[in-house]
């Protein structure tokens, strides 16, 4: 553990003050701990510095939005659109996430240890999203790249209007969206999954890896032109 740590008590400050303090101290310290977050919205918004940040509790909407290099760990749950539009860095959520986690990400990695709400990874273009539990309806809607891994079950209309990228699922799939195709994985996929998941202590057996399936687009251009 590093000694160069800065603590910010969020209990009596606004999101603006919190973000200003985070921005100001991100380049000075190796790690920032956010105490008493009380599910504050817009925490760690638009941070482009490389720093470790620990949220000691739960965060509200849009935590880590547009994060570029920071490694963010949330010890509790997060509200809607966690890690929205991330371009890099990491967001580790030890609890559950609301709707739209990983919306529109271009890069980086998001881990939700427990369940996620609906529309996980919508309009994402790249990067990885790993859900330890279930993910709700329309996971991967308008997906244009990247990878979603769901260790639990997927809700209705998975991969609605997906045109690129892949969604791996270990559990059940309630139904597929338009242009989504559910197929078996191959050895390359297994290798990729092991590389992604082995970092996060999920204790999957080799037969678990055999049981993954993947959802990919049927067509790269399903709605328009030829």
């Amino acid at each position: 553990m590093t000694n160069n740590v800065y603590e910010i008590d969020l209990s009596k400050i606004t999101p603006r003050e919190a973000n200003e303090s985070i921005r100001e101290n991100a380049s000075k310290y190796d790690k920032i701990i956010l105490k008493n977050p009380h599910s504050m919205h817009y925490l760690i918004a638009g941070l482009v510095d490389e720093v470790d940040i620990e949220v000691d509790g739960s965060a509200g909407y849009f935590v880590g939005t547009m994060n570029d290099k920071a490694n963010i760990k949330v010890n509790g749950n997060v509200g809607w659109f966690g890690g929205d539009n991330m371009t890099g860095g990491k967001l580790l959520i030890e609890g559950s996430a609301g709707d739209g986690v990983g919306q529109g990400i271009y890069g980086g990695e998001i881990l939700v240890r427990k369940d996620a709400g609906a529309r996980t990874g919508e309009i994402m273009k790249n990067g990885n999203i790993i859900i330890g539990g279930n993910s709700g309806f329309m996971t991967g809607i308008f997906m244009m790249g990247g990878c979603i891994v769901v260790l639990g079950n997927l809700g209705k209309d998975v991969g609605e209007s997906i045109i690129r990228g892949v969604i791996y699922v270990l559990g059940e799939v309630e139904s597929l969206g338009k242009n989504a195709n559910l197929i078996d994985i191959d050895d390359e996929d297994k290798k990729k999954l092991k590389g992604l998941l082995s970092k996060y202590d999920f204790n999957l057996s080799s037969s678990d890896y055999d049981n993954f399936r993947k959802i990919i687009p049927k067509s790269k251009r399903p709605f328009y032109g030829k």
Partner: protein, 493 residues
């Protein structure tokens, strides 16, 4: 048939030996091929011409939409395009029959670029009344007229401070060439105003050339990052645009070349989807949260704008204003686009003059008129349109199509084809070469400055010293329709 294209064969074949006669129109500078220049045939976006006995003839005149590119680009001035008055058959006119038959054969709706062109009430239905004795006019030649505006000072630490209330509207790189984007940036700087990235991310050179640059944040979020937003002087959340309100978009992979790919942050050659609505803005609270999110990302430094297509203007404007927007943009149905279904462009939305009044009234009802800035867009062409917009309630205007015309666009309505003959709406290197962005940028700057001066003249003859001081009471309507739409008194009553 709305246009008659006449080509004089004698003129067409004269003096082909002139060196460099069409240097800017011909991509292959080889005088030996001048006798076969076929400029009209090659440059017509609508396939009006056909080669017969080695000479081009305008045989498909029904395709002509009157852009007159062939006329402009003919090195021998052999072509004239005449507008023919509409036939009087009203329903079941020639155009109606042509379009019905086309649909029956092709089975597809018509796609076109730019905004609505059918007759609707416009700024031309309004006039500005001159000051005489009850209010004296100001002397344009000796007395000053001020045109500076400050937009978005509600919450932003650094509002937009402009020398003129004429701004460049959102047009993306991808839809437009790099040269066109740089010309818009340069022109805006010459005129002391702001340009807008559009949905396609921000070019480095565009940022360098534009003194003030607005970053658009649209539903596809292409090219969006913390750096993108923090490099801008304002952020515009695009909810809709006048030309295709309530519609998403699909950028074909063919248009995503290496440079477009880089700034949109998607793989080269890959399609890009823009949903019809922001996935995270489906109600009033969502918009408020989005504004707050963007404000946090940009540390409250720059104004947050919200742009709407003009529909339920009053409700939408109230939602944005209550949600914390610094600036609201209303884009009337004359607002343009790179590609949209003709049926939507021509039949959806309300005219710009009506949307300005509705937006202004909405802000007044909330007692936020002095806090929230209002920008009008859609079909604005000259100083009169500018002043009438301000009189109706706007603080500033966007120009889009007019700015492109200043660069050389002939409104051929085929931007979506990607083979713009003027090098504006294309990624083709050879065609892009036709646009000199330094010269076009200067042209645009001159146009905006002249338009501002026109506005000043009208404001001064109406007895005001600042362009923002013109009021609705300074207008009169020439038509009942415009009067009813705007609440402006009829002339003579």
């Amino acid at each position: 048939m709305p246009y008659n294209v006449k080509k004089d064969s004698f003129l067409c074949n004269r003096e082909f030996s002139r060196p460099g006669c069409c240097w800017y129109k011909c991509d292959i500078k080889d005088e030996s091929i001048c006798p076969e220049c076929y400029s009209c045939y090659n440059n017509c976006p609508h396939n009006v011409y056909e080669i017969i006995n080695n000479e081009p003839y305008p045989t498909h005149q029904k395709n002509c939409i009157g852009c007159r590119i062939c006329e402009e680009m003919c090195p021998n001035n052999a072509i004239n395009v005449y507008a023919v008055s509409d036939d009087r058959r009203n329903v079941s006119s020639y155009d109606d029959m042509f379009e019905i038959k086309r649909k029956s054969i092709e089975g597809s709706y018509q796609v076109k670029s730019m905004g609505a062109i059918r007759r609707i009430p416009t700024f031309d239905d309004l006039v500005i009344i001159p000051a005489q004795v009850s209010r004296p006019p100001l002397d344009k030649y000796r007395e000053p007229c001020f045109t500076n505006v400050t937009l978005g000072d509600r919450y932003a630490e650094h509002p937009l401070k402009l020398d003129t209330p004429i701004m460049i509207g959102a047009m993306s790189f991808g839809a437009l060439s790099k040269e066109a984007k740089l010309a818009l940036a340069l022109g805006s700087t010459y005129a002391g105003t702001a340009s807008n990235t559009g949905e396609g991310g921000m070019l480095k050179d565009e940022r360098k050339l534009a003194k003030k640059l607005i970053a658009q944040y649209a539903s596809g979020r292409f090219g969006v990052s913390a750096d993108y937003l923090n490099n801008a002087d304002a952020i515009e959340i695009k909810i809709g645009q006048g030309a295709k309100s309530g519609m998403g978009g699909h950028l074909l992979g063919e248009k995503v070349n290496a440079e477009v790919s880089k700034i949109r942050m998607i793989p080269e050659g890959s399609d890009a989807l823009s949903p019809a609505r922001h996935m995270d803005i489906v109600g009033p609270e969502d918009l408020s949260m989005k504004i707050s999110q963007l404000r946090e990302i940009t540390d409250w430094q720059v104004p947050i704008m919200v742009k709407f297509a003009s529909g339920r203007v009053k409700d939408d404007v109230k939602i944005a204003a209550k949600g914390g927007a610094d600036i609201i943009v209303v884009d009337g149905m004359q607002g343009g686009t790179g590609a949209g279904p003709e049926i939507v462009t021509e039949h959806s939305g309300i005219p710009t003059i009506a949307s300005i009044v509705e937006a202004d009234n909405a802000l007044k009802e909330l007692n936020l008129r002095n806090k929230v800035s209002l920008i009008a867009a859609g079909g604005i062409r000259n100083g009169a349109d500018l002043v009438k917009s301000i009189a109706l309630g706007a603080d500033a205007v966007y120009i889009g199509t007019a700015a492109l015309i200043a660069l050389g666009c002939r409104v051929c309505q085929m931007c979506y084809k990607g083979n713009c003959r003027k090098g504006i709406a294309t990624q083709d290197k050879q065609l892009r070469h036709r646009l000199d962005y330094h010269k076009s940028g200067e042209d645009l700057g001159r146009y905006i400055k002249t338009m501002t001066e026109e506005g000043c003249m009208l404001v001064q003859q109406a007895g005001n010293t600042h362009i923002s001081k013109i009021e609705k009471e300074d207008l009169r309507s020439l038509t009942l329709e415009a009067s009813k739409l705007t609440g402006v008194e009829m002339a003579g009553f």
